[in-house]
């Protein structure tokens, strides 16, 4: 019996886990469900000794264990298959296992490893060639090697961190009976996922996490799929008033027609983007909901030109972007990227320099190829005042600002000057309530001034509150919805891939 008792963990003020308790019986398959950022991975990293909890304890068969490191976790029989495999691609399967679970530094007992690998694989009805080089195996086969590695290392409790995210449906179909047969042989399996259908087929019990809290734990079948989806998404919270959307949107600003994007590699079966149809008109916000990893990043990359598309047309205000160089193409858009510190801001530069990144080429800001310091300062001061950026001065390094004020600076730069098309990805992630309200109000104000806004957002409530139209991204497809004629739960079901046509 593995008991997780009152575990809490905070990362810099954000409560990643709050008082989570869960008991897992030996030989059972425990599903852990939750949206991205719900705390699933944090909980598993605590179990595996990668993170120390702030409070709470872990008990194994009644005894309190302190999992200080992955090494300790392995010693007490906890094995983990990470999303990113920890295998040496240049070595054979046998050598990888010898490296991971071997103890001596003498001669390799390849024959005995071969025997252990093949007999374990056979008991799971897998075909694993112990002499093949890991780098030449596909992702599904590599995952099997990882599972074998965890079991040969003495694992009695196997944590699978979103194992199906990298698999084809066929590989998923083969993984499920293998996991069931492991459970029959007494291995405890903890299966992390945000895909309901797989959890239903694989698990005995499920636990649902939402924003760091355990909102449900019980046997499979106690709740319907709809009820589980509702647990994962939660109930709507209070949001700022955002002003009415304009009654009649104007001309089409951004238009995507039949945009497809092939696979980056052959191991994944779904296209990144599957026949995307999208238009964003002046004065409207089109919201794209979806569980992360369903093609949202690819959509933005395709629009900005950093991801080549295999077919289809992307147009801004009626002109095709296909022949523009990427840097010219990027200038067509105001963009609030997901990774604000990596893509949106230059952390080593000052606040002023960051505010000027879009406009420093304008003649008013330069003279003889040099910058006009006074003009820069005037523009920066104006933006700081009108976007209420709290800072100690215009020349302070942008790093010295709080996360919320960094985001305000980014938004000030991008939204100033009435850009015709705005792309925003998770613009409020990691922000406190005040900064969140500010960001949403700024987007609403830009809409009022006639911008066409494409908003990709993982917070469904904020998305529904601000969007004029809502679409759902699932498995590379962009599905229209009848929001607000359909309810929030219907959109939640579409995000989970349940009855996508019903909404």
């Amino acid at each position: 019996m593995l008991s997780i008792e009152n575990i809490s963990k905070a990362f810099g003020g954000v409560q990643a886990l709050n008082n989570v308790s869960l008991a897992i019986a030996p030989g059972s398959v425990q599903g852990i469900l939750g949206e991205n950022g719900a705390g699933k991975t944090t909980l598993m990293n605590i179990l595996f000794g990668l993170i120390r909890p702030d409070r709470g304890q872990i008990r194994l068969n009644g005894q309190t264990v302190v999992v200080r490191s992955p090494r300790v976790a392995q010693k007490i029989g906890i094995g983990m298959v990470h999303q990113h495999f920890k295998l040496a691609p240049a070595l054979s399967v046998t050598d990888n296992l010898a490296l991971a679970v071997g103890r001596n530094f003498g001669l390799l007992h390849r024959a005995s490893f071969r025997y252990r690998i093949t007999s374990l694989a056979r008991s799971l009805h897998w075909a694993v060639d112990p002499d093949s080089v890991v780098g030449q195996l596909n992702v599904g086969q590599q995952q099997r090697v990882e599972i074998i590695k965890a079991l040969l290392g003495g694992g009695k409790i196997l944590i699978l961190d979103e194992p199906t995210a990298v698999l084809t449906p066929q590989e998923v179909d083969e993984l499920i009976p293998a996991v069931r047969s492991l459970a029959r042989s007494g291995i405890t399996v903890i299966f992390i996922s945000h895909k309901l259908s797989e959890v239903n087929r694989m698990c005995d019990r499920i636990a649902v996490l939402r924003r760091g809290e355990l909102v449900f734990a019980g046997p499979i079948g106690e709740l319907s799929a709809e009820e589980i989806a509702q647990h994962m998404l939660g109930s709507p919270g209070a949001l700022p008033s955002l002003g009415a959307s304009s009654a009649s949107p104007g001309l089409v600003r951004l238009h995507l027609s039949r945009v497809c994007c092939p696979l980056p590699d052959t191991h994944r079966y779904k296209p990144l983007l599957d026949n995307i149809e999208l238009s964003v008109r002046a004065g409207e916000i089109v919201g794209v909901a979806g569980v992360e990893g369903n093609g949202q990043t690819a959509l933005i990359d395709a629009i900005l030109g950093s991801l080549p598309i295999s077919s289809g047309v992307i147009m801004v205000e009626g002109s095709d972007l296909a022949h523009l160089a990427n840097f010219r193409r990027a200038r067509q858009f105001a963009c609030i990227p997901e990774d604000r510190q990596g893509q949106g801001l230059v952390l080593s530069l000052s606040l002023t320099a960051n505010l000027m990144l879009r406009s420093y080429r304008n003649p008013e800001f330069k003279r003889f190829g040099l910058r006009r310091v006074a003009a820069w300062r005037a523009r920066a001061t104006m933006l700081i005042r009108s976007f209420d950026i709290r800072c100690a001065g215009v020349e302070v390094p942008i790093q010295s600002l709080s996360g919320g004020n960094q985001q305000k600076a980014l938004i000030a730069r991008e939204l100033h000057g009435n850009p015709p098309v705005i792309l925003a990805i998770n613009p409020t992630r990691g922000l406190d309530i005040g900064a969140t309200a500010f960001v949403l109000q700024q987007l609403a104000a830009a809409r009022q001034r006639g911008a066409g806004i494409l908003l990709i957002h993982s917070d469904l409530d904020e998305l529904l509150a601000i969007s004029d139209r809502v679409m759902v991204m699932y498995a590379g497809q962009l599905l229209p919805t009848n929001w607000p004629a359909v309810d929030r739960e219907a959109i939640g079901r579409m995000m989970m891939g349940i009855t996508p046509q019903a909404a």
Partner: protein
């Protein structure tokens, strides 16, 4: 150069192996270090330090063995500085390696200056006595085999050592868990970390071993093959070693093949420069019209061509040149 009593082919074969020996020695160490993810472009400098340390220690002690030991220790000592800077302080390996090369030029020149002064002050000869240093060792019986005998069994002691070392390292890499770890360190350090292996400790060991090998290669140049020291005596061989590791695709048989190829071209060009071989008068006549600088350049051109054609198909260890920060 006295080549009487040998056919040109036998002479060239023997010269080829002699020229290849320091490359094999230094290459084995560098290959191991690169497998673990550390590229040391300071091999040239480590060899030069081995040259002077070996020469001076042999000269002072009068013993070639002491010279060889000193060269190995000096190579390891300098490599320890490199390991501290790159493996533990995560500095850029290329920049640190370049610094090692510059350091070595200065340090070896300084050591040479002090050595000469000390010897002159003591009224002793600066050059090594005939009995100091090493002579080639003919293995009884085997060295009498036509062609292969002089080529493989009438060589300096370090050649035999290099071949034994090569076989041992090859066995180590492919038949032990240590070898599996070494091969994984540069390719998937995170897999090693997950197995509880200290990536940085192992990398340090590999770098020190490479330093020892380069030091020995330096001693080979100064107290075996030539019995002399000159400030430019490594002549870029340390850099050639780097390209030969790539040429051999991080495999020991490939590395040795590359070393022999390079050594062969190099000894061919030296022979063409220095001998007038009467029985091959027509050939020599034809070659006389080519400036000898062309032949000097030839081995390096071949090395570059090999790099250009092979690098693309064989990228080497994935984390080569990247520091591990955990």
């Amino acid at each position: 150069m006295n080549i009487s009593g040998e056919s040109l082919g036998t002479f060239l074969a023997r010269q080829t192996v002699q020229a290849a020996t320091p490359l094999i020695l230094a290459g084995l160490g560098e290959l191991l270090a690169e497998l673990t993810g550390v590229i040391n472009i300071g091999i040239e400098g480590l060899m030069l330090i081995g040259c002077i340390a070996g020469y001076a220690a042999a000269g002072i002690s009068g013993s070639g063995g002491v010279g060889l030991g000193a060269a190995i220790l000096a190579g390891m000592g300098t490599a320890a500085i490199f390991a501290g800077v790159t493996v533990w302080s995560a500095a850029d390996q290329i920049v640190a390696g370049a610094a090692v090369n510059i350091l070595a030029v200065g340090a070896s020149g300084l050591a040479w200056f002090f050595y000469q002064n000390a010897r002159q002050a003591a009224h002793r000869s600066v050059s090594l006595g005939r009995h100091v240093g090493f002579q080639s060792v003919a293995i009884p019986g085997l060295s009498r085999i036509p062609f292969f005998g002089p080529m493989l069994f009438d060589q300096y002691m370090l050649f035999y050592a290099a071949i034994i070392l090569a076989v041992l390292i090859w066995l180590l890499l492919h038949y032990t868990r240590t070898g599996a770890i070494l091969r994984a360190l540069g390719d998937a350090p995170e897999a090693c970390q997950a197995a509880g292996i200290s990536v940085r400790t192992w990398r340090t060991g590999a770098v020190l071993f490479a330093g020892a090998c380069a030091g020995a290669a330096g001693a080979y140049l100064s107290i075996m093959r030539t019995h002399a020291f000159a400030s430019d005596m490594t002549g870029g061989q340390g850099f050639v070693v780097l390209s030969l590791v790539i040429f051999g695709r991080w495999n020991i048989p490939g590395l040795i093949a590359g070393c022999l190829l390079f050594g062969g071209i190099n000894s061919l060009q030296q022979t063409l420069q220095t001998t007038r071989y009467t029985s091959h008068a027509t050939l020599m006549h034809a070659l006389q019209h080519i400036p000898f600088e062309f032949f000097q350049m030839l081995p390096y051109v071949v090395a570059l061509l090999a790099l250009a054609t092979l690098s693309r198909s064989s990228p080497g260890p994935r984390y080569l040149g990247q520091a591990w920060k955990q």
